[in-house]
Every structure is written in structure tokens, then in C-alpha cells.
Symmetry: C2
Subunit: 588 residues, 2 copies
Amino acid sequence: MYRSHNCGELRITDCGKEVTISGWVQKGRDLGGLTFVDVRDRYGITQLVFNMDEQADLCTKARKLGREYVIQATGIVRERSSKNAARSTGDIEIDVTNLNILNESKTPPFTIEDESDGGDDLRMKYRYLDIRRLPIQNNIIFRSKLALETRKFLDSEGFIEVETPFLIKSTPEGARDFVVPSRLNPGQFYALPQSPQTFKQLLMVAGVDKYFQIVKCFRDEDLRADRQPEFTQIDCEMSYVHLEDILNTFEGLTRHLFTHTLGIDLGDFPRMTYDEAIRLYGSDKPDLRFGMEFAEMNDLVKGYDFGVFDSAELIVGICAKNIAESYSNKDMKELTEWVQRPQIGAKGLVYIKYQEDGSIKSSIGKFYSDEVIRSWASRFGAERGDVLFILSGEKDATRKQLSELRLELGKRLHLIQPGVFKPLWVTDFPLLEWDEDTQRFYAMHHPFTSPRKEDIPNMLNGDHETLKNIKADAYDMVINGSEIGGGSIRIHDRELQAKNFKLLGFTPEEAEAQFGFLMGAFEYGAPPHGGLAFGFDRLCAVMNGQSSIRDFIAFPKNNQGRDMMIDAPSSIHDDQLKELYLEVKPES
Amino acid sequence: MYRSHNCGELRITDCGKEVTISGWVQKGRDLGGLTFVDVRDRYGITQLVFNMDEQADLCTKARKLGREYVIQATGIVRERSSKNAARSTGDIEIDVTNLNILNESKTPPFTIEDESDGGDDLRMKYRYLDIRRLPIQNNIIFRSKLALETRKFLDSEGFIEVETPFLIKSTPEGARDFVVPSRLNPGQFYALPQSPQTFKQLLMVAGVDKYFQIVKCFRDEDLRADRQPEFTQIDCEMSYVHLEDILNTFEGLTRHLFTHTLGIDLGDFPRMTYDEAIRLYGSDKPDLRFGMEFAEMNDLVKGYDFGVFDSAELIVGICAKNIAESYSNKDMKELTEWVQRPQIGAKGLVYIKYQEDGSIKSSIGKFYSDEVIRSWASRFGAERGDVLFILSGEKDATRKQLSELRLELGKRLHLIQPGVFKPLWVTDFPLLEWDEDTQRFYAMHHPFTSPRKEDIPNMLNGDHETLKNIKADAYDMVINGSEIGGGSIRIHDRELQAKNFKLLGFTPEEAEAQFGFLMGAFEYGAPPHGGLAFGFDRLCAVMNGQSSIRDFIAFPKNNQGRDMMIDAPSSIHDDQLKELYLEVKPES
């Protein structure tokens, strides 16, 4: 080794020892006769000291060291006169007797500090320097630890990690596949998996009983912020289980992960049906870190000649505590403009202030007496000092708008405490989702999801409205308003699977060509089974209270799907294309 | 759950309990009034019993169960009258009170037994049934356990598992890349990684210090037997290390894996230089499970007017113990024909029998007196009863042929004990390999391998012969004649890396276009580093004494790169191609 110790481990008890450390020059300081150099590695920072009076050559050499030079230093550990309590090695320094420059460094394009002065593009191009920064390094270490704890827990529960193939078959249902031309099979293509869904189901048919995998998945989507073309899942499947068994197992996993990485006990996860979540929070991934549940007001507000409410499908509001006095007209105007932005799309915002002095101030006083308005308070548990915000209009759109407003108020009013985690299960998702544009049903989860047992007859014989109301044995795990994972009990019967494909607009031939192998497998003793998948990148970010997954991925791609560092994708040689029987056809 | 117990856990102490199990019907037997049904899952087999006298309906239902039906049975555990000591549940049976058919099964295309009657193609097409067989299931469980033990060990040594990207840049050096067309970047392609080599080196530049990953890699090669287009590596890299540190660390890993999965202590690994391995075994991956080291005979045999030897660059032999009496002329003839097959390519085979009675019998008695031949024995440690096999010709070819003969004799003479593991490190590989066809050097390991320090001046100034003799800080781990892993100390200096690319025939522009990001990274404080990669599929197979990796991969591809089960690769929709700006050009 180039070192006897790393840069984070020397302590006062090591004084007097001769040691060798290696690392990067964090910074140097010349103080008259003494030169101090901080050396950094993954484990910490250690101070070197050089004395111009005693060892002029060595000290001169040290003074010439640049930032990020790679050095090796040998010397004697000694107690520091001026200690640094913020640093684990802050009690000691090394009185250097030998200094070796292992590699030089050009001046980095941004500072290697916790807060970097590098912009996003620069950080991505020089990602190998960005990762030297402690926050990014900590993210990557956290991710590694989280993966290992996941594996240890699932192993202890009898799960087997099975690697499923990456070169599979293109099944254009859902998102776009990345495809891989096959040289040995001219004109044919593999696809990279969007998930190992069909393979894990086949593993259940194969008797593997409990499967998991931490695995890369691929989606060729138009990239929005915080989407990556390749991402990682904790993918799981179990046989001979009911919904309850799956929820218990993966609630157990999640609690284990929080305990063993953050030291936080999440307690039992509350559960909420999809319908309830939509009704109370306008979202299937409600953020439970603060209250502000929706209250519906149709029965209270209609019939008072206020046309906006009278004509609305839904009138629904939320209550913000204790802001009646502090929220000015200007604030109200600004908030109204916020909900009217095209991204939110509300027509207007009704507010009601239950003022501390008992009076009412509202934007609809013309239509409703103070008496009437006062009577609404109990629906919200509103008290003096509180403000109601009310939206109205078409049901689904209004709920969505109010959900956005609720989250925005949560932020603005600082209702979210850092370090608080509020998990829940959302259950009983609809099986099917109607798309007006294409006039067809899509699978809300995926085509392999089983309807609830009691809904199976409706599925086989249902009309359009009945079909829309079929519920699936599908569930999502939500933490702090982020969907962390989702899954379902699967169909394990060929007939039912065929019926589901038919509802989703597959001809029997299409279903057979794309998923014949799975339906075939169902004929050879498929056990009842179900599972779920966690978004691993998202889980890492949420557990660290961060909103972006990008800095939990060592080498992410930008929004154009490019790796800025290696400059990929790129053009390939003509003979590579020729071998693949392909021609690039310019944009037309 | 559909079960209170699995099919492998009930014992005599459970007698009297009411239990529910679920699983697959292994087989049924009707014995007059009693019907026995064996139910199987991953954990074992449990016997159900049905009594026609007491419960006719239930028993009739049981009699109709087909092989591989999925059933759920509830009943009382009781002691068996006729126990089955070969089975962990063999002391008990379940007196069934309720039987539920969870799914039916068509008759499987082959038997689900340890020895299947299914051919390879059938097994691959119905892989989900093949995996139900215990030997395959055990392989897959072993693989999962081996991966977890690898992670636990490397974590305990301070390694961080970092996921490197799958959509990278095509670098046509080495094997062919699989490429992935980019829809967002028309006419451009990603490549799937042949290994994470450059990324792990960048992680060292990034200060990650100790990296590992169990990761899929991809090579678009013409598939030979036991090659897969996608395969798995244990990929590792360390900073601030010398060769010795790396060998110690990964010898430690390998010993840990053998101890914790097989209960075998491998002891210290012997080391052998590449030159020594070639000289003594004619191979850089010698199988040390038996002796038969090569002995070179040029000084002994030349000058006796035997033209074949006199004109040969190398005359080299091996000694087979105690077969002089048992090996007949017919055997010798058969062996001679074996080495003369085109796959081996020897011109002929010289043998010498040191017979038990002291006499000599050989195929070259015409040229060498018994006296002379007897004098050769000491070179081989040969005694009465032994046989020498001698080949001659061009040095490299002859060694290769004799290596094949040695391995063949090892097999034929049963010199290899099952369950024996003989690991070693082969070190000091040549840096460069000259290719006569293309008249250029190739990197023996890869272009990032560092020459030994003392050879660097030769690299910078060497002529052709000097270059050929440069040794690298490169090493392979070999177990039982299989290369399990290999690696090297890497170049971490831009100048030296550029020089190496030049030796390998890259123009400066090509080197920059393909690997500019890495050489650029070397300018920002790259630490000395090195690492290695294990072939994970191969390691699984070797540890289980098997020669094929295929049955350690859940869903392998056949020799045409096809997945027989899902029927991939396949053609894709025209609009998928159009979106990718591609056209398939028929074979011409």
C-alpha cells in the first residue's frame, strides 16, 4: 500500500507513531516558518506540517503543491497546538519527513468543497471531480449501504436474488423500449427491459417462491426533469401470497432500511384506499407530513345563486391554520395568480378568513352571509384565525389543482419538518384507465395485474362504466408524497390474462406474439403470486430529504439522455452498421 | 398466505397440528383404500394421505390430480407408518381434511426430476419448468448466496458498490459492442458495456478508493459453446495499492467465498509467473489438480540423427505414472490419433515406456539406445512403470498441444479428484501481444494495463523485440484450470497512456475520440490504482465442479444468441425503426 493509514483515522492516541498517508491536497497555508497542507481522501482530512527552519527543501516542495495534487507523506504523528474539534483527526497533525508527489493536477474547473461553484453542466462533464465532493460521495456511499441492507433483509426472509436477462424482447405496450440490433439474427432486435416483470412471474411458475433483484431498467422516454433513461429497481415477487402478506413483507423491508441506515423507526404504515386518497388529498401519493385534508362542500354551498359554485361538479376546500391575520390581500392575490398559472389551471381561488375577532372576510361575501360562512367551519375543524381556500369545477381537475395548492401551502407555511418521514400504503387502485384520446383502456398498473376477486365477474361481463369501476389488487407505497414502490397480485390464469389483454385492445394474435410465453407458462401449474418494485434511486433521495435522484446516481445522463463526461451517445463506424444490416436514414 | 408451512419444514414434533401447505403435485399413488400425493415446493416434498373409506369425495378428488397441478391442502400432521429417511419430512404425512386445486397443469414436456428426459432445446424453451428441477434450482440458490457473501466480504473490507451506466459509448477496441440507437440523438448510438473498466478507473480518480460491483457485461461475439452474450462480473478496483495488496485482498475474498459456501479452506494460493506457467504446463491457466509438469528435452535428445527432434524448436514431454503395463499399443495408437486431430494438430506422438521389468519400449528405439533413454528418466522423476509422452516442433504450438494432451490424460487416468480445488495466481503477463495477421500489437489484458515499473523505459524507447518482452503488472486467478479472474495495475499517467495507445495502433485523434475523457481525468490528480474482475458465472460453475456456465444462469441464450423461451430477438414495428431513424438493409 501507498499508506499505513487513511486520512480519517489518526487520533491523539497515535502520537509518536511513524505513519504514511496518501491523498489529495485540499489546501495549503504558509504561516511564516511553517507550512500546513490538508490531505484528503474518502475517509477524512489530515493536516501535514512542514518546518522551513528545520527542513527547507521539504518545506519548499510542500509550498509548491497545487490543489488536488496526489501526494504521499511520511512523518511522525504529533498533537496539534491549535485543535480542530470539527474534524475527527483535528487533534493531531503529521510532522512530515518525506513527501512524494504521486501525480500532479491541473487546477480543477470548480472547487472541491461541499458547496461547489460549478454549474450543472460543468459538474456533469467532470463528474469524477464532482464525486470527490463530500455530499456526492456520501450519497454514493449511502446508496451502497442501502443496497446491502436490502439484500441482507430479503435474504433473511428467504428471498433469492436471481439475475434476469437484459437482452429481451420488445413489447411496445407501455413506454418505449430501447432496442439492440442483433448481428447474428439479421433484421431482428433485442429490447432492454423496462422491468423484469414477465421474468419474475416466470420465476414464480418455476417455483422460486421468493425472488428479488436490485436491477437496472430502461425506458426510452422524452426525458423530463429528474427522469433517467436507465434507473434502478428493487424488484420482488412472492408465491402463495395474498395482498396482506406482500404489504407486511415490504413494510418490514422499509422499516428495516430506515432503522439500519437512518436509525429511524417508522412504526406501522397507515393504509388508505385509492378512492380515499383522491377524495382527501386529490392525489394517489398524498404527503402526510402535514394535515390540510380536503373537505367537500357541494351540500353546503349550492343554492345561494353563486353561479360558479352552482354549476360546479365539485366544490372542495382546505383549511390553513392561524394565517388569517398574517396573510395579506397581496398574499391572497399572489396565491390566486399561482393557481391560475397554466401549470395548475384553476379559474380562480375563493378564500375565507375566520378572523381572530370573530368576523369573516371572504371573496364571496356577496353571495353568502357571515352566518352561513361561519357554519362551514366545523366541516374543516376551522377556528378563529384560520383561512379556507376553496376551488371548484370539474371533479378530477379540481382535486388535482387543490392538491397542488395544498403542497404549495405546505411549503410556504413551513408545515414540513425536515427529518420527518410519513409512509403509507395506497390500495385498491382501479384496474383500468380510460384514455379519451385513443378511446381505449390502459392498464393503470400493468397488464398482468389481477382484479380483486370480487370484481372478476365484472371484468368478464362488464359494460364500460362497470369496467371503469373495477378495482385491482394493486398498491403503492408512498413516503412524504413520493411514490416509492408499487405492485399487485398478478393474474395466474391463462383465460383471465387473455381477457385482460382483450380489454386492453390486444388482438389474440398480438397477445400471443408478445406474451405467448407467459400465457403458455400459466398452463403448466402457475401458483398464485404477486409482488412489487421499489424505485431505488427515488428511495435513496427521499430517505435523504432530497427531491432530485440525479446526485444519487454516480454517472447520470442529462435531459437529452447524454452522458456529458464520456460524450455518449455518439456515431459509430460504418462497418459496425453494416454488420448489423442497418442504415441510418437522415431526418426527413 | 396460502400456507401455514412450506413443504420442507414439518417434522415429527409437529404431529397433531393442523397445517396448510401449498405446492406442486410431484406424484400420486393409489394403494387400495389409501391415496398418497407428494407435494413439492422449493423447500422440500411432503406426503399427503387420503382415505377412501373415510372421505370418499376428497380421495376421489385427490386421485384426479395430475402431475404439476398446484394445490393447497389442509390437514393434521401425523407420524408415518413407513418412514422415508432420505427426506427431511420423511417421518410425517398430512391426513388431509381439505383440498383446493389452485391451478391445473398440462402434462409437462419433460419430467420434473433430478435427471430430466428433456433435451437441451426443450429445456430452454420451457426454462420455467426446467428451473423447477432441484439441480437447477440449487444452482440458482447457490449463485444468490455467492453474490451475497461477495458483497458482505467486500463491504467488510471497506468497498463501496457503485452502479456504473449501461448506456455508454462504443469503443470498438477488443470484442464487438452491442449498440443501442438513440431516438433523442438521431444517427447516434449508445453501446452496452463490455466491462465497466473506464468507469471504475474514473471512480478511482473520483476518490472512491475501493469500488466493487456485481454487474452484467455484454459482448457481441460469435458464440462458442459456453459463451453468453450477457454475462456477470464481480468487478473491483482499489486506489493507492501495489500488486501485492490486490492479490491479498482478492485471495481473501476467494477464500471467504469457499469457506462460507462450501466449507472449504483453500489455504494460501501459490503464485507462478506467466513464463513459468507456459514452460511447465503450456498454458496460462494450468490445472494444478494433478502433476505431470512439462520437462524440456532439447539438450538430451538432439544430435542422435533423429531428424524430427533435431529440427524441432522444442522437444518437451510429460510423465504418466504407472501405466506402462496397462497402456496397450492400441491405447497408444488411439492417443496418437487424438493428438493428430486438427483441433490439437500435433504431427505425431513419441512415447517411452519404462517397463516394470526394467526394459524400455518406445517409438524412437531406432534412434536412441535403451541406455540413453533410461538416462532421461531423472528429468521427469520417472520410475519403472511410467510412460513418457513427448511432442516436438515449433515452441508455442508444441506447448499448446502438450497442454491439451496433459489435460486429456488427467481425465483418462482419473487423476482429478472431485471436490478438490487448486487455485493459483499467474503473474507477470506480457503487456503486448503481436498479431501476425494484422501486423500490430494488441493489449494482452487491455489498453489500460500498466507495464511493470522497470519496463516503462523499454516501452518508451523499445524496438519490436524489446516491446514483445515487456511484462505487465497483470495477473490472473486460476482455479482447476479455469481462469476465474484477472486484472492489473493501471496506467494513471496521461503520457504513458497515450504512449500505450500509440503502440496499439491508435492515432492520437482516435485515442482522444474514444478515451479522451479518461486521459483528461488523469490530468486532475489520478491516484495510482489497480483492480480485477472475476467471471461470476464461471466461478459458480467451477465451485460446483461443473464445466458449463449455462445452468448457473436463470435464463441463458443459446449458441445463436436466442432466448428460446421468449423467442428473442425478434423483428420490431416499422414505426419503432422510423423513430430511431433506421432502416433494415437486407443481406446482400
